[in-house]
Chain length 433, copies 2
């Protein structure tokens, strides 16, 4: 099957999936969980094959580690699927109900987006997690996993497809895309694919954003800042900066640049240097910073670099205004924090920094779907439309308008025979209505 | 100034505009209205110049007519601006409030998208309407109007810019783009422009969707359907079809294809033919339709043609399923209606037809922001993300997450020292917070 055929089949399945009952979707999720449970041995065997091949191909250690999908991880994703069963169906919610005129009622009802294209790197658990979220939200999907996990992905997608179709879902609702050329062709199928969600390296996401006319939900950079205002509570500075930088350096929400108000710089930088260097964090600083602590000079490039490593750039600023300006110039709109004792200053900072998450007196590492309490996270988005920040299942949803009439014509409103009332309606639209 | 400089200036202004108070925005709207009032003579003079030039250049009649912007129309847009003043500020609304842990509170707050690029054809009233909506919602904008209205647009954008900046808005928040090459360059400025809203011909919108990596809010086609089920109330058929087709044929929400259940075809088609032909509607039909009424044959192409004219294609279908399938294959996801006495059938139709608006027993012409009670309409979107259907001011909005802490680190949650509570919070985040 060509990628065009696959996309067409996914689109066809999506139209059925959009109207499937909550019960059937939950039944399919249960079937998926049971089938994965039953096929553990097969999955592990495929995964070990991938591992051996990747090891031979000298895949870097961290990627090799993320590739492993054995007993405990499989049990975790199965648990994740089962927890989705008990969640409320996001399809069919009444978001607005309005009487346009007596007997002419307008409802805005949540519905799935349609067909989602998901491209992710090595982690096979992502495949299961994403498939189950798409299923629960009624979206069909085209999946492209990393080639290092080819065998595992093939086995997983077959098990997921077959078990759920047997449970009653439309055939072809989940499709595995395997070749790089198919992925490139996929970017042009905007007639069939409604949204792309890339989960991978920054350069990879950037490439997709620039090469597809299909909307993309994702983030290419996570250049996060902490600004320490002159009245910041000294007790919280070190723990928060340390946590933001070192709690998990590879995360997109870890801090890359520290901005320090000139008035407080000499009292906080020496202590910060000590605790950060104890954790092997390499520091680079602006000229004024280097007058206070002995660190390497920061280049202009440092301000727009996402280290994803034990490295932090430090700049001294004259004011909150300067900090905001620096962040809006060099930041990536991901997560930026202010440390200050003043509610007014925090409020100004949070209103004026253009980022999906703006924090006051806490670690940038909180910027995450699980910590925000979204249950599942589709990804983090730095886009300015649809969904921004950590995105839960609502990122896979859109709505449609349903207008229920009794013979009304627009002409009868032009002539004055009928009049618009535009009154809110109390009742929700029942899904059987 | 190059288009890049203009976009950068708009971006800079947007960062200030996003945090401007409701009072200042309303003051600026009042100033805009007053300045337009005071400059009526100048506007009319510029508009007459455009009209004379366009008339000489043989601009088609309907476009010439849309170009006219004189006393009454100017008064109407001024009234529109003033009605915006009394509307609630869409910026700063609390959409979600959740305690992540005691003393660590998460808020989701509405905010402007940022910089919007708007490209529209001849109607100068659109310029004023769009500028005032962007102002109220805190968005900066780059505007490109039709060249036929060049003089009018130049005068209007100058008056709007100068009066609002004098009232306190950041300079450069609204910028006029004048040349075609600047518009093409604009499509590549995704670093500075967050959303494109084209209002114009289908081919024009399609061109933009295919040639820009900036998200587009709009619709390229309006191929709307009415499906007459076998149990439809005979009384409502003719009025609804007539209204949907002829109440305003140039509208994107007028019907282009009629689908009729085979069981009811012979009893409804002759009457429909009579009333439609009385209104000079040209009919084309499938073979089975032509066995009942004497109309020209419909070609395969007819099913995917938006006539925007006194023409209607008719197809006989075997079932509701067939009707749904036809619509999902040939429709444009704009507006599709079913006429049926059965709640169950209407419910199945509305769940399964993939369109932004799905109607039961009423005219497709109701698909419109004003009729839906949205006050102002930014446009109609057939996109599957962000905003769909008639889009009011909420289409210009996104949100940011604000997290208010008191020294929390993520590490303290990993160690079990702190725990996530994820409790809903009662209070809204005050805008001064």
């Amino acid at each position: 099957m060509t990628i065009l055929n696959r996309a067409q089949e996914a689109r066809k399945a999506s139209l059925i999936l959009a109207a499937v009952s909550s019960d059937l979707k939950n039944k399919a999720l249960e079937a998926m969980a049971a089938a994965l449970e039953d096929s553990k041995a097969e999955i592990i065997q495929a995964n070990r094959e991938d591992y051996r091949r990747s090891e031979k191909a000298d895949l870097p250690g961290p990627l090799l580690k993320r590739l492993i999908f054995e007993d405990e991880k499989i049990s975790q994703v199965i648990e994740g699927i089962r927890s989705l069963v008990s969640m409320k169906d996001p399809v069919g919610e009444t978001q607005m109900a309005r009487e346009l005129s007596p007997g002419l009622d307008l409802y805005r009802i949540s519905c799935p987006i349609g067909v989602v294209g998901i491209i992710f790197e090595s982690r096979p658990d992502a495949l299961v997690q994403i498939s189950s979220l798409c299923l629960k939200s009624g979206n069909a999907l085209l999946l492209k996993g990393g080639s290092e996990a080819a065998e595992t992905n093939r086995v997983l997608s077959r098990i997921i497809h077959d078990s759920t179709v047997k449970a009653g879902l439309p055939s072809g609702w989940i499709q595995l895309v395997e070749t790089r050329s198919d992925v490139n062709d996929m970017f042009r199928l905007n007639e069939y694919i409604d949204l792309l969600i890339p989960r991978g390296s920054n350069s990879f996401v950037k490439y997709i954003m620039e090469n597809s006319s299909i909307p993309v939900l994702g983030h290419s950079d996570g250049i996060c800042h902490i600004y320490i205002h002159d009245d910041a509570d000294l007790q919280i500075i070190n723990p928060i900066v340390l946590d933001s930088k070192t709690q998990y350096v590879a995360a997109c929400n870890s801090v890359e640049t520290l901005l320090v108000h000139k008035k407080i710089a000499s009292s906080v930088l020496p202590g910060l240097q000590k605790v950060l260097e104890e954790k092997s964090v390499e520091l680079v600083g602006c000229d004024r910073c280097r007058e206070i602590i002995d660190v390497a000079p920061a280049s202009e490039e440092d301000w727009s670099t996402e280290y994803v490593d034990y490295k932090l750039s430090i700049k001294i600023v004259d004011s909150l205004d300067d900090a905001v300006q620096h962040i809006n110039s060099f930041g990536s709109g991901h997560t930026d924090a202010i440390l200050t004792a003043s509610k007014e200053c925090s409020s100004a900072f949070m209103a004026r920094v253009d980022a999906s998450s703006v924090f006051w007196n806490c670690s940038t590492r909180f910027s995450d779907g699980f910590r925000y309490g979204f249950g599942a996270e589709i990804g983090v988005s730095t886009s300015k439309i649809h969904a921004r920040g950590p995105v839960g299942m609502e990122g896979l949803m859109i709505y449609k308008y349903k207008l229920l009439g009794s013979g009304q014509t627009v002409a009868s409103f032009s002539t004055g025979e009928n009049e618009y009332t535009h009154k809110p309606l109390e009742e929700n639209l029942q899904s059987d209505k």
